[in-house]
């Protein structure tokens, strides 16, 4: 049964407490109780979202890369005439704060004499000549402990770049597309997770050696991974949302959609979201037992970002 009505938001201001939903027709914000609102009239197909420290969101899209400061505000173009077809973004210290995975490879930016962001490709230098599928980058994860180390999912497998793209190497994950990369914190224990087209969900403690994460996902294409504050792992797959702990058998929950995106509240709640491509936006408020579709949302949801955890502000020193 569909619920929450979608409307165009007149809300302007910080959206740190809102969910962000990247769809084929733009960015939406809101929550299961407050309803969903289109965050302005930018109807770009959103493929990826990264929240930044200033409360803004960086939005990857088919047409480029944008900074969305807050709900209702004008967006700022971050791409140039080189960057397009952004598949994924990952936080990277510095300006503009992200590394981009695109159909034409990994790109990073610097400023030119006009102060404009200029993106350049970081082509993989491998022991064997990279093929087209080695460059088509579908997922990216900058190691939060060592930002010079990048995990790059491609149509051909998983690559690791060291020294900010200075050296590259293949990993054991080859011969399959890697469309999802996460590094879990908290209870999951700092592991790197990789979702593949043909080899299911894999997990590694060092990025070098990989093992299947749990049972029952082999051969099912995986598009997104999310970790809940309770230690559950949500996996968006071709057959819907799977939930498990990464060791035992995965259980399918929710509607049988191509779940291109999954997300879970990072604190203070049990809300899970799943984005179908197609299938629209679905949510569960009871850890996946019951699911409802958000009415009126675009049919294709590609990316989700949970609200930022509410952090109690300490009294300033002095």
């Amino acid at each position: 049964m569909a619920d929450t009505k979608v409307e165009e938001s007149s809300m302007a201001g910080s959206w740190e407490g809102s969910w962000l939903v990247g769809t084929a027709l733009g960015l939406y914000c809101g929550g299961s109780t407050s309803g969903w609102h289109r965050a302005g009239r930018y109807e770009f197909k959103v493929t990826s979202i990264v929240r930044q420290g200033d409360g803004a969101a960086v939005v990857g899209s088919e047409g480029g890369l944008w900074k969305a400061p807050r709900a209702g505000a004008d967006w700022l173009q971050l791409h140039d005439d080189v960057l397009t077809l952004v598949q994924d973004v990952s936080p990277l210290p510095g300006d503009p704060g992200v590394l981009a995975a695109t159909a034409y490879g990994v790109h990073r930016a610097s400023r030119d004499e006009l102060g404009a962001l200029r993106w350049r490709s970081c082509p993989p230098t491998l022991d064997s000549p990279p093929q087209l599928d080695d460059c088509f980058s579908t997922a990216i994860l900058v190691d939060p402990d060592d930002p010079s180390r990048w995990y790059v999912g491609t149509e051909a497998g998983l690559l690791i770049a060291e020294d900010e793209g200075g050296t590259w190497r293949r990993t054991d994950i080859q011969g399959t597309a890697v469309r999802a990369l996460t590094r879990a914190g908290g209870l999951a224990g700092g592991l790197v997770w990789a979702g593949t087209d043909a080899q299911g969900l894999l997990v590694s403690s060092d990025g070098e050696s990989w093992r299947p994460a749990g049972e029952g996902l082999a051969g099912i294409p995986i598009f997104d991974i999310a970790h809940t504050s309770e230690g559950d792992v949500l996996v968006g797959t071709e057959e819907g949302v799977m939930v498990g702990d990464g060791a035992g058998r995965w259980q399918r929950v929710g509607p049988p959609i191509r779940a291109a995106a999954v997300a879970a509240a990072t604190s203070g709640g049990q809300l899970w979201l799943a984005g179908g491509s197609p299938g629209g936006l679905w949510h569960s408020e009871d850890r996946g037992i019951n699911w409802r579709q958000a009415a009126g949302m675009p049919h294709s949801v590609e990316a989700l970002a949970a609200p930022r955890p509410q952090v109690e502000t300490a009294e300033p020193d002095g």
Partner: protein
């Protein structure tokens, strides 16, 4: 009066002829140029701006989006007629360009129109410091200029990516004309002027009596069975003349900015377009197509070979694609064309390759869903009787008026057959050795389907109307030869064509087949011992391998244009046009980032 002056006057006269019709009915911003030129009715033209762009809404979310076609149409209108359009209409365009949400699109023509409109708007409203995308005027201008000049250089050095498209070539020409007329920067204006001439030369070299012969990067649904397809026919009439004015064919609204532009191409291009007295071959090199995944090797340059005869043209393409599943959706690789009504003068065949992976090869969406997603909006791209769209299993070799096409379609392919279109207006005769013959009046054609086939009727509104021969064989093929009627008689041609060898003794078996032309030349294709669609096959002419890599940028009588130089010389009957894009060979070309 010089030849060029005469020509310019003739172009102007045809422009007025077109605009007199266009002005009456147009409801587009493109056509508003005609309204202004013919009637000077700024009120009506201004109203069209609002009709197309809509009234601007109010409120914090009222930013109106626009695509690349609308932005170029609006800005060229303002740049040409802004001083007489209503203040409100010009302001509407200014608001769109400075505060709208503008989509850059994903094809080469999209980006070109987008960046052209940006430059023209940036220079028209220099007082605007921050633009629609939050960028400063300087940054936005630098980005647009960098891309356009970079793509001009790419085209001059290695050929056009989105090449020879009857549907989209006009977008390229219009953008260059607009920049040549209006851009502030001398270098950009000069480069754009030359690029416009280059694109029109592209049209001229394969122009055939109102149509565009040979292979095309992109052609519209069913349109590759038409003798005159796409919006380009109006531009061809404008610049080449030579045929009776046909409002239905020549008055496409998108011509508007070209009709009122100052730009004029060199007169000799029209002469080249109509000089078909002496049969000749045109060779072209085009840039590699944009394929970025699902391929084991990089894309090779595209090579075109078109035989321009007096009463027919036969053109083919070495598409350079890297094997399955790369198969651009609207590519047309070959055809035989002659003068005639819409459905009555084309022969073409195609394997309607349908694998969803072909969409994923040049689009970014999830491969798992892209087949159905594309088919939802454009179901005709997967129709079983489709006659356009590249197949990774098609190979062809041509010499003058003869061509041999072979297919090796895998067993598990969704469409294990080939569609062959024949006009229903020709009385086909069944000859010996499986040949079919047609008497085209001024020329004769013989064709020999390879594989068992049956006749079907194909008709869809005014989109297609003819015969569809379904060759139901995974190793299908076609041998075809056309000759001028002035060189022989029909009976002799039939006899000679039937007698000349079509050697299928090693087909499909070892993967080798040959065709001897009535002129005694032997064409052969030799496949490697590799799965269908993979590996490089050899093409032989009289036993010698054809070296497609030796093709220059352009080769035709009077044309000299080596690859990699950015220089081109065109000569015709004492006239000469030289293009020099002043390429710095040490400078790296900008990366290609769009579907082209």
């Amino acid at each position: 009066m010089s030849r060029q002056e005469e020509y310019n006057s003739a172009v102007t006269a045809r422009a007025h002829q077109i605009m007199s019709v266009m002005a009456e009915k147009t409801k587009t911003m493109w056509g508003a140029h005609a309204i202004m030129d013919q009637e000077g009715d700024a009120g009506r033209a201004s109203e069209l701006i609002f009709a197309v762009l809509g009234k601007e809404a109010t409120g914090p979310f009222a930013r109106v989006g626009a695509g690349t076609f609308d932005t170029l149409a609006a800005v060229t209108l303002v740049r040409r007629w802004g001083d007489v359009l209503s203040v409100e209409a010009v302001e509407r365009v200014r608001r769109l360009m400075t505060d709208g949400v503008l989509h850059r699109g994903n094809t080469e023509n999209h980006w070109l129109m987008h960046y052209t409109a940006q430059i023209l708007a940036l220079e028209h409203w220099p007082e605007i410091g921050t633009w629609w995308n939050g960028l400063s005027r300087q940054v936005a201008h630098a980005e647009a200029t960098r891309w356009i000049t970079g793509m001009i250089e790419r085209t001059a050095v290695q050929g056009h990516h989105e090449y020879d498209s009857p549907q989209y070539h006009l977008c390229h020409v219009l953008s260059m004309i607009a920049l040549a007329d209006h851009a502030a920067d001398d270098h950009l204006r000069r480069q754009a002027d030359q690029a416009a001439t280059l694109y029109i030369a592209d049209m001229a070299l394969e122009y055939f009596k109102g149509g565009w012969a040979g292979g095309h990067s992109r052609e519209g649904y069913r349109q590759n069975t038409w003798t005159r397809s796409g919006s380009i026919t109006g531009l061809q009439y404008l610049y080449f003349g030579g045929e009776e004015f046909d409002p239905a064919q020549h008055c496409h609204d998108m011509l508007g900015p070209a009709l009122t532009a100052c730009y004029r191409p060199p007169a000799l291009l029209a002469d080249l377009a109509w000089d078909r007295e002496k049969p000749h071959v045109v060779k072209k090199t085009k840039a590699p197509r944009s394929i970025y995944r699902h391929a084991r090797q990089s894309v090779s340059p595209t090579r075109k070979y078109t035989f321009m005869s007096r009463s027919f043209a036969l053109g083919s393409t070495q598409v350079g694609l890297p094997g399955p599943p790369a198969g651009p959706i609207d590519l047309v690789s070959w055809d035989l064309t002659w003068s005639g009504p819409r459905h009555a003068a084309k022969i073409v065949c195609n394997h309607p390759f349908r694998g969803a992976g072909r969409f994923g090869a040049f689009l970014g969406s999830l491969p798992q869903g892209i087949g159905r997603a594309i088919a939802t909006d454009k179901p005709y791209l997967q129709y079983p009787d489709r006659l356009f769209g590249a197949s990774p299993y098609e190979r062809m070799v041509q010499h003058e008026g003869a061509i041999l096409l072979l297919y090796r379609i895998p067993e598990d392919d969704e469409a294990p057959y080939v569609n062959l279109y024949l006009p229903a207006t020709v009385a086909w005769e069944a000859g010996e050795e499986g040949w079919l013959f047609g008497d085209g009046g001024e020329f004769y054609v013989g064709l020999r389907p390879i594989g068992s086939y049956h006749w079907e009727r194909i008709r869809e509104e005014d989109l297609i109307d003819g015969w569809l021969l379904r060759i139901g064989d995974r190793y299908a093929g076609l041998a075809l030869e056309a000759v001028e009627a002035s060189d022989t008689d029909f009976a002799t041609f039939q006899r000679q064509r039937s007698a000349a060898a079509l050697d299928l003794s090693d087909w499909p078996g070892p993967g080798r087949a040959g065709l001897v032309t009535t002129g005694g030349h032997r064409l052969e294709i030799v496949f490697p011992d590799a799965p269908p669609g993979e590996g490089d096959e050899s093409h032989l002419l009289d036993g010698v391998a054809i070296d497609y890599s030796a093709y220059p940028l352009y080769e035709a009588p009077g044309v000299a244009a080596p690859l990699g130089t950015g220089k081109m010389i065109l000569r015709h009957q004492g006239e000469t046009t030289e293009l020099d894009f002043q390429i710095d060979p040490d400078r790296e070309l900008i990366p290609m980032r769009v579907i082209g």
